[in-house]
């Protein structure tokens, strides 16, 4: 079948199998391998990308469901010569080791700050009616869908905290 995917502002006409996940479309068909596959089952967060600004596990959705959606992958967040503030903070704080979970972490963190800005509460928010204060615990909870076996978690929190403080 055919789907028109809009990824990082570019349109792609994709001829694909109905079973192709959005993740496999990116990695195997469009050469956008910055998005990683860690489990293919929505259990690790390595495939996190943004759809219309919201974070989503690309392995849990089919490519054919995204005709017309605005898709942003790690390649659209920044480039080696023009890092986004979140990417730069990850480098500075060593928010990764092997780097395999990292594109997912960065996409997730980027969208997470937006969720917090919109006032979304989390499991650890004491008062769900007030604007959440992004404490380390809030950041950790909101990032717990992104596994990192290298366990850069403390550094990931440092990086996100720095970006969040700079932008608020």
């Amino acid at each position: 079948m055919q789907t028109k995917l809009t990824i990082n502002g570019n349109e792609h006409d994709l001829e694909h199998d109905t079973r192709t996940t959005l993740l496999d479309a990116l990695r195997n068909h469009l050469g956008l391998s910055g998005t990683k596959k860690g489990c293919d089952h929505g259990q690790c967060g390595a495939c996190t990308i943004l759809i219309n600004g919201r974070r989503i596990n690309a392995c849990l959705t089919l490519a054919c469901m995204h005709d017309g959606d605005e898709i942003t992958t790690i390649e659209g967040i920044g480039t080696p010569d023009n890092l986004s503030p979140m990417q730069a903070a990850f480098v500075q704080h060593d928010g990764f080791q092997c780097g395999y979970c990292t594109p997912g972490q960065i996409c997730s963190a980027t969208a997470m700050l937006e969720e917090a800005r919109m006032g979304w509460p989390s499991h650890v928010t004491d008062d769900v009616t007030s604007a959440p204060d992004l404490t380390d615990t809030e950041i950790s909870e909101r990032m717990s869908g992104n596994l990192c076996r290298c366990s850069a978690y403390p550094n990931i929190v440092d990086a996100i905290r720095q970006v969040s403080e700079k932008t608020t």
Partner: protein
Amino acid sequence: MTAHLKMDKPDTRNRLDHTAQGLIGAGMDRPDGKAKVTGTAAYAFEDQPEGMAHGVLVRANVAKGRLNDIDRDSVLRLPGVLAAMCGPRFLRNPAQGGANEAPVQGSEGIAYLGQPVALVVAETFEQARHAAHMLTLQIDAQEGQTDPDIAGYESPDAKQAQQGDLDRAMKDAATAIDVTYTTPSHNSAAMEPHAAIAEWDQDMLTLRGSYQMLKYNRNELADALGIDPKCVRILAPYVGGGFGSKLGIAPEAVAAALAAHELNRPVGVALTRQQVFEGTMRRSESRQRVRLAADASGKLQGIGHDAYISNLTDEVFSEPVTQATPFIYAGENRVIGHHIARVNRTCAGSVRAPGESIGVTVLENAMDELAHQTGIDPVELRLMNIPDKNPTSGLPFSSHTLAEALTTGRDRFGWDQRNPQPGSTRKGDWLIGMGMASAVRVNILSEARVRVTLMPDGTARVQTDMTDIGTGTYAILTQICAEMLGLPETDVSVSLGDTDHPPGPGSGGSWGASSVGTAAFLACEKIRRELAKKVDADEADLTLKDGMVSYANRQVRLADMIDEEIEIEGHVEPGDTSDDVTQSTYGAHFAEVAVNAVTGETRVQRMLGVFAAGRILNHKTARSQCLGGMTFGLGMALTEELMHDPRDGHIVNRDLAEYHLPVNLDVPQLDVVLLDERDAYANPLQSKGIGELGICGAAAAITNAIFNATGVRVRDYPATLDKVLAGL
């Protein structure tokens, strides 16, 4: 030209303390960082060649048996399917680290449930996956043995040791501890699933793969395929984590190579997460009996450590649980026992710090039990039992930092706030406690070669087949070469993970940075000598900084001094310093936990690790390695457990939803202190391995804290809430 060193004598020059660039030890950002955060670093399955077909492995669904054939016709009719294959060259399981030859081969003999026995290849991944599900295997199931205790244990003579009379010491002891702990199977669970892409050009095979030790992997792959290693090139510039699970060549590599050969086009095979759990290495489960005999003052008179572990038949690897027990603490009388059962379970192999990770952990639990029984402070108990020489071999220690780690940690953590009476601190529903443990891990130097080329424009190129699996190889090689050659770090480019480069030691056993770093150091030292010759000076009198060379009151641009490349291959081999002294790294873990009195849930609130590993080459990446090790320990303490179905040994929780790695919220802001140490016996850098030290004993600090919080001693890892609750 080459620069060779066999490490026969300590090197006390502390050469890196006298160079000028100022990069060594600094927390330099990783040079590979920008590629990793932008998704441009290409891992194994991401450089897909034109026309690549997708292969999906099919597993055996019995614990033991014979695969007579596969029903090819059932899948060859399906759309897009190109081949279905099995055969005598398929690997039963991955090679062990450093094997240098193929592991057991042949898809006919099934030795565990989950063994990859066939491959289906199709034009697309979706077609291959579907066909793999449809493939019928013709299997004769046989009676397997999946329970180590029923299988029974072999006790190889070479792995038993005895000195003095432990039974007597136990009888005479003022306090005797005799406890048995169990630890479950673990999986490395690196985030990048194992993958390989094979491509042939006539007789030449190029394999992009996710492997840790390429110089061995190349020989293993060639051996498995029955071809000359010269015809094999392996590329692994980025590896998405390893932790031991990618040490040896593995079934996907061989299957991809066979299929690519048969189909005459590139074939890629990536494992699913479930296949990673079933078909790569597990850390063996263990049962450990520890005996401690102490006199009235708390001094150890005897130590016994018996380990019961398992593996498949024909595997030489057996988890070296007691590796640190011969030398960590004093005591005249000592028994080491090692017992292995042969079972039809997923292959056992290296998982981060094989041996000490679980062995030191249980020993440190037993030490906590001794401290509690004697009423001696746990830190004091360890301090008073530090030996002044290796109590088993009689060899001196190259350097010993356990006491400093213990006292530094005690002061920094606020250990004096701990109430030694278990269960005495409560905040609301939460019981609070503190625990500690020693950390120890043997230090190893491994043969390594690195090529360093100083270019006429004054920049440098560094090449080796060494890998960076997140460990920081790109960073430390950049730093060492930039430091020695007096260049800004941006003028050094490091190329890794290509078997066309000189062979490094591979990533494993924490030896990577020191071994490959020494080879780079040697090459740079020789380049400095070549430069000195040009200006008739002594190498030691040259000051190299920011691309300038200064000597005898003169200064010239490095680029102006050379008109052609200077290319040197540095080569280091271990020598007498590996045998004449006991080399080890040490540390101390401190943890504070809160245990919920209603649910039994444990939350780690604070954790401190103090570590000494010789000269720290990069404080930022070294600290990250320690964070990783400590978090592995946290997982081991509280959640990680592979569950084997008692009927057929299969791993029940074979995905990341059911095998519980620590997530971000489980891990507090860990505190890491790196002590300043120089170990002249280790290598000319005076550095030692740090990648595994952080896990050794970490889980014990947490479970000892649970005991302090609650009075509940969980001797069956992990300390899940049901087990804690049962004792509350």
